[in-house]
Symmetry: C2
Subunit: 273 residues, 2 copies
C-alpha cells in the first residue's frame, strides 16, 4: 500500500470513491444486513463510503473501522459525522495484518470492500483476519474485476487506457482482476461454506443514473485517476491517452453501453479449530 | 447463415444446444411469460430448445416457430413432440427476412434467442420483423457476448481458443459480441421503450450444476465445436488447441471459476406509425 496505492488520496479521488458507493450501494450492500448489537469489523474503511452504508443499513451494530491511512480515516470520520449523525464508530489506525484478538476481542462479522485488490498476499491477509472472527461468524468480501469491463462501441484505444489501470495496480503488487477468484481465495484461507456471486452493473441511455453515476463518475473517473502515472511510466502518450478516454466516453453517450461485474463473497468461521 | 453458420448441425451440437437451454432456462426465460391465447412468433427456433421453454412457461400461447434450416426444424418438431406432448406449433421453413404480414398476420409477441449473432445485418432483420408485430406488441431478444467470458485461472492459451470462436463467427458475417449492443440495435430498428439487462452466469465448485451444465457442457463444448475449422483456418495448431482447451477446463475444476454474461432486451411496437 503506502505510496504505491493505486487509488490516490486527492480530493477528486475522494469524491469518486464517494460517488461510487452511492450508485452501487443497493447492488453491493442490499443483502448484507447485520443484526443490531453485533460487533462488526470493517477492514480498510478508506474514506468511509462503505462505513456509511454499514451504519445506515444495519442500525445498532457496534462498528470498528480500521485503515492504514490516517488521512483516509480523517475523511471517513468527517463523512460519518455529516451523514450519519450520532453514529458511534471505533476508529482504528492500523495495518490489517497487525490486528490481534488480544487487542480487539472477537467480532461477529468482518467486512472488506475494495481492499484485497491492493494486497500482494490476499490469502495471508484473510488467514490473519480469521483470528478476529468468532466461531460461526461471517466474513464478507466485495471486489471488482477490471477485465469484466466491456462496452459499446468497442475500441482498442479505450481498452488500452483500462489496461494501464490493470498494469499499474499489478506493478504495485495488487490485482484488479481479483473479483473472479474470491471463492477460491476465501476457501484457501480456511473459511467455511464460502459462496460468491457476481454483482453486475450495466448502463445504457435508458439508465441515466447509472451512466452518470457508474460509467462516468466511477469507472471512467477511476481510469482518469491514473493518467499521470500512466504517462510517467511511458504506457501511453498524452495523445493516446486523450484518444482512449474519448473513446471510453462514447460508451456513456446515447447508443453506448457499459458492463462491469463486481463479486461479493461470504464465508463463515468454522466452529471447531 | 447456410454453410457458414458457426454452430454445426451435428448430433453433439444438437445436444449442446439442448443442454444449454436446460441450464440457462430460468435465467433467460424466467421473466418472459406470455398471456394465454396470445400469438407468438419464434424467429430462428433452431433445434427447438427455446421452443420447449416458450410452450412450458407460457401455456396456451399460439406459437409459430420459424427456421431457415429444414434439418433443425425436424429436430425441433421431434423434441417438442417428446417433451411437450399435445402442444401445437405452426412450424414454418423460411428465411426471417421473407416473412410478411400478408402471409402470417400480426403477432402479439416476437421472440429471438441466439439468432441476431449470426446475421450480417441485424438492424435490417429487426426492422423487417417489425411489420409482423401489432401496435403495442413486444419483441424479446436474447444474445450472448463472448468477450464477457473470463475465468480463473487466467490463461492466454485458453483465451486464444475462445478468440477462434469469435473470429470464425465474425468471418461468417456474424457477431458473437452482439449482446452488449442489443439496446442500441432495437432502438435503431425503431422499437419503442427498449430495455436491456444482463443475465450473468457465474460458476464455481459450490455450484456444480452450473460448472457441469454451463462451463463444461455449454461454453467449453461450444468452443470445442469449432476445433476443426480453427485448425483448417490455421488459427491454432493441434497442440495449441489441446493446450487451450485443457487450460479452459481448469476453470471447471475445484478452485476454478467461470463468468459469462447474456443480455436480454425487450422493446415494444409503437402505437402510431
Amino acid at each position: 500500500m503506502g505510496t504505491d496505492y493505486v487509488h490516490g488520496y486527492t480530493t477528486a479521488e475522494t469524491r469518486r470513491l464517494t460517488d461510487q458507493a452511492g450508485t452501487l450501494a443497493d447492488l453491493l450492500h442490499g443483502d448484507t444486513p447485520y443484526e443490531a448489537g453485533s460487533r462488526v469489523l470493517e477492514v480498510g474503511c478508506g474514506v468511509g463510503a462503505q462505513t456509511v452504508q454499514l451504519l445506515t443499513r444495519s442500525p445498532g451494530i457496534r462498528l470498528t473501522s480500521v485503515d492504514i491511512s490516517e488521512e483516509s480515516l480523517a475523511h471517513a470520520k468527517a463523512r460519518v459525522a455529516a451523514e450519519v449523525p450520532g453514529a458511534e464508530v471505533d476508529w482504528l489506525h492500523a495495518d490489517l495484518l497487525g490486528l490481534t484478538p488480544d487487542q480487539l476481542g472477537l467480532f461477529d462479522h468482518l467486512f472488506l470492500c475494495f481492499v484485497l485488490e491492493h494486497l500482494p498476499k490476499p490469502v495471508e491477509a484473510l488467514t490473519s483476519l480469521q483470528r478476529l472472527l468468532r466461531p460461526g461468524g461471517s466474513i464478507t468480501v466485495i471486489e471488482g474485476d477490471h477485465e469484466s469491463a466491456f462496452f459499446h462501441p468497442r475500441s482498442t484505444e479505450a481498452q488500452a487506457v483500462i489496461d494501464c489501470l490493470i498494469d499499474l495496480q499489478a506493478e504495485a503488487g495488487g490485482d484488479s482482476l481479483i473479483g473472479r477468484r474470491l471463492q477460491p481465495l476465501l476457501t484457501d484461507a480456511g473459511y467455511d461454506d464460502v459462496r460468491a456471486r457476481p454483482c453486475t452493473v450495466y448502463a445504457d441511455e435508458t439508465l441515466p443514473h447509472l451512466v452518470d453515476g457508474f460509467t462516468r463518475k466511477t469507472f471512467i473517473a477511476m481510469v482518469e485517476s491514473v493518467r499521470d502515472r500512466s504517462l510517467a511510466a511511458g504506457l501511453r502518450t498524452p495523445a493516446q491517452w486523450e484518444q482512449g478516454i474519448r473513446a471510453l466516453e462514447r460508451a456513456a453517450e446515447p447508443g453506448g453501453t457499459f458492463h462491469y461485474t463486481f463479486f461479493k463473497a461470504v464465508g463463515t468461521q468454522r466452529w471447531s479449530g
